[in-house]
Symmetry: C2
Subunit: 371 residues, 2 copies
DNA sequence: CGACTTAGTCCACACTGTTGCTTTACTAGG
DNA sequence: CCTAGTAAAGCAACAGTGTGGACTAAGTCG
C-alpha cells in the first residue's frame, strides 16, 4: 500500500489536518507547512472544495500583493458517530468535522443482562436514531470504544473486563453488518487520546474505575504488538503497598483508589503525578490530558497538583513545557474519542500504516467496511 | 516532503528492508509482502541491482512453473561507521550492509581532559582511519551515539552527563564538516535499540553506569517532543528507597545499583524485571533486548530472571510472547546501534518522517549532510 | 495611473505504480 | 521427444501524482 493513490490520500489528509489545526489557513501557508508546491496545494484544495469539505473564509489583509484567501473546514460536510460501550451502558455522540458534539445520548443498561447480540442490536438502533436526519452518504463511519483487552486489528473483543460472554465477539464486523457503515473499534483509553487534536507526543490518562492511558507518539497512536498498549495502572509504585486486584502489590491504580477511598484526593493526585512524571520522562511527552470520574470530581485539584509534581520531578527547564490539562469533554471524552478514531482517518492522525516499520505491510484493515 | 521521489524512496526502502529481514527472498514474495504489484517490484529490484545493493542468489525449486529467483543483499555494497562517544573514550565499528561488524576500535581517553574541538578532531581521525581502504562513495555515513540529553533534530549536544564543556556543541555539523560525510547523532540508548533489526514494538534496556531505554514503537524510533525519550531509570519504584543522584527516592536505577553494590545481581535483575514488565504492559512490546556492563557480567541470569518476572507479571497467555534476550553485540552494541542510525535510512526503520503525524511537516533534516 | 508584489492557476512534463500482454523457464504427461 | 500447462518476470501503453515555468488576478505603493 504505497502507490499513487496512497500518496494522494496521504497528502490530502495532511492538508486537511493542517486546516483543522489552524482553523483558518491560506494556501500559501499550507504549502509552507506541508512542503508541497503551491501548485500541488492548489489542486488538492480544489478537490477538497469540490467535495464540500472546505470552503473559502475571507481574506488576509494584503502585504503588497494579492491577498491570501483563507480556507476552513465546512463542519457540516461530514458526520461521525462515537460510541462508548462500558459496564453500565453506552454513551453516543454525533460529531461534525470540526469535532463538535452535535447530539449526544447516554443510556444506562446492564450488558451482562442481555446477550451480546441483543446489546449489539440496541447499539445499532441507537446509532440509527442519532443519524436518522442526516444524508447517509455524509456519515463517515462509527467509532466504538470498549474496555480492553481487544484486538483492534481484527475488531474482535477479548476477555473484556466486567463483560463476561463478550469474549471472541467480532464487534466491528457485527456492527458494520447491521449498519452498513464503516466501523472502527479500539480500547476506551486509546480512543480518549483522540478526543481532541493535540501534540504529536501526548498521553491521555483516565482515572475512573480503573487507571489507563492512551498514547499518541510521534504523531501516531501507539497500540503495540497486540493492540493493547496503555496498561498504565498496574505499574508497581510501592512494593509494600496494598494488594491490587491484578495480584501485585502497590500498583499505582490500587494506591490511587485507596487514597480516593480515604477521601484523600490530594494524595491520589500526588501519586498519579508520580506515575505521570515517569511516563513523561520515559516517552518525552509534551502534553497530558486527564479524564475520568475521579478527576472530574475535582478537576482543578488534579490539574494543579499533577502539574506541580511533574514540574518538580523534571527540573530541567527544557522539560517545563509539559501541558497538563483536564479534558473539556467531561464524561463524553471516550465517546468523543471513538468519533476521533473515524475522523483520524480523514485528518491523518491515526496510523493507517499498520504495524510495519515502512508502512508497507499487508495489513488488516483498520476499519470494517460493509460489503 | 511527500512527492513522487519520497514515494519511490519509501518503497525502495521497504523492499530493501524486507530483503534484509528475510535474508533471501523472491520477487513474488516481495510483492506479496509489500502489497506492490509484481511489475513494480520488478522495476525496483532492477534499480537496486543496478546500484549493486542486491544480487540474485539461487532459485527455489519449481512448483510447476518458472522457479522463483531468490534475491539477497550484497553486504559489501555499502559501509557505515558507528561511533559511541562516552565518558571514558570512544568505540568505533565499521559495519557492512548486512549489519556485520567488519572492523572495530576502542580507545580510552578522557574527553574532559581536552577541548571538545580536539576530541572531535580525534574522532574524525579515527573515522578516517577505519574507512581509509574503502571507496568513499560507498560509505553511507557516520552515526554517533552520545549520552543525553541532546537535540537529535539539530544535532546539538546539551548538558551531557559527565562531559562538562560540551553543552551547546553542534557535534553533528562539526563532524560532517570534518568528514565530508553524512553524520547522524542520537542518544546512546536510542542508538542501541537499532543495533539489530527486531520487532516493530521493542525496547532496548541498558544497565551500565546509568539505566536507560531505547524504544521502537509501531516500527519507528520513539524520540519524543524534545528527542530525549528513554529516561527509564528514574521512575520511582519505592518511595521509601534510597536517595538517587537525581534527587528522588527509590528510583529504579538507584535500587538496581544498590543491589549491584551489594553484589546481589539476582535482586538487581528482579527489580529491573519489574520495571521492564511495567514497560511491556504500558507499550505492549513484543521484544526486549538487554545490554550494559552489569548485564554482560552475567547475561544468562539477567535474561532468565527478567524473563521470569515478565511472565509472572503478565499472566494472560496473549502476553507470553515477549522475547527477552541479551544483545549479541556485547560492548559494541551502542556503536553498532549508531551505525544502525545510518542503515535505518536505507532500510526504512528510522522515522525519516519527523515529528509530524502525517509525516509532511517541514522538518529539520535528521542527518547533517556536508555542503 | 502605472510599477510592483504576491496569490493562485493553466499547461506541458517527468516520473510513479498499474494493467494487459508476451516471453522465459520450468513440470507433467503421453 | 514433444506438447500442454503453469508460474515468474519483463515490455509497452497508460492513468495519475507532484513539478516547473509562464500567465492571470488582485491587491499596495509612489
Amino acid at each position: 500500500m504505497a502507490n499513487l493513490t496512497a500518496l494522494r490520500d496521504h497528502n490530502t489528509a495532511a492538508v486537511l489536518g493542517r486546516i483543522r489545526a489552524a482553523d483558518e489557513i491560506s494556501r500559501v501557508e499550507l504549502a509552507l507547512a506541508t512542503g508541497l508546491t503551491a501548485q500541488a496545494i492548489s489542486k488538492i484544495v480544489q478537490r477538497l472544495a469540490a467535495e464540500g469539505l472546505i470552503a473559502p473564509a475571507g481574506r488576509v489583509p494584503s502585504a503588497g500583493g494579492k491577498p491570501r484567501t483563507l480556507l476552513r473546514l465546512v463542519p457540516q460536510a461530514r458526520w461521525v458517530v462515537g460510541v462508548q460501550l462500558h459496564r453500565h451502558g453506552s454513551t453516543l455522540v454525533l460529531v461534525d468535522l470540526a469535532g463538535r458534539i452535535v447530539d449526544a445520548t447516554a443510556t444506562r443498561f446492564d450488558p451482562s443482562g442481555a446477550t451480546p447480540q441483543q446489546t449489539l442490536d440496541l447499539i445499532a438502533a441507537q446509532v440509527e436514531a442519532v443519524i436518522a436526519e442526516l444524508p447517509r452518504e455524509r456519515v463517515l463511519g462509527v467509532g466504538v470504544a470498549c474496555p480492553g483487552p481487544l484486538d483492534q486489528r481484527t475488531g474482535v473483543l477479548h476477555q473484556v473486563t466486567g463483560l463476561p460472554g463478550w469474549n471472541g465477539i467480532p464487534l466491528r464486523a457485527e456492527l458494520a453488518a447491521r449498519l452498513g457503515l464503516p466501523v472502527f473499534l479500539d480500547k476506551d483509553t486509546t480512543a480518549g487520546v483522540l478526543s481532541r487534536p493535540g501534540a504529536p507526543d501526548r498521553a491521555f490518562v483516565y482515572l475512573g474505575d480503573g487507571l489507563g492511558a492512551g498514547l499518541v507518539l510521534g504523531g501516531r497512536v501507539q497500540r503495540g504488538a497486540r493492540t493493547n498498549a496503555g496498561e498504565f495502572g498496574h505499574q508497581v509504585i510501592d512494593p509494600r503497598g496494598p494488594r491490587c486486584a491484578c495480584g501485585n502489590h502497590g500498583c499505582l491504580e490500587a494506591l490511587c483508589r485507596a487514597a480516593l477511598a480515604d477521601g484523600d484526593r490530594g494524595r491520589a493526585a500526588d501519586l498519579l503525578g508520580e506515575g505521570i512524571a515517569n511516563l513523561v520522562r520515559l516517552l518525552d511527552l509534551a502534553q497530558v490530558v486527564l479524564a475520568g470520574d475521579a478527576v472530574l470530581a475535582d478537576p482543578d485539584l488534579f490539574r494543579d497538583r499533577i502539574g506541580a509534581v511533574v514540574r518538580e520531578r523534571l527540573p530541567d527547564p527544557g522539560w517545563q513545557q509539559v501541558g497538563v490539562t483536564v479534558t473539556d469533554a467531561g464524561e463524553q471524552v471516550v465517546a468523543l474519542g471513538a468519533a476521533g478514531l473515524v475522523l483520524g482517518t480523514l485528518f491523518g492522525e491515526s496510523d493507517a500504516d499498520g504495524p510495519d516499520a515502512a508502512g508497507l505491510a499487508v495489513q488488516a484493515p483498520a476499519a470494517q467496511y460493509p460489503e
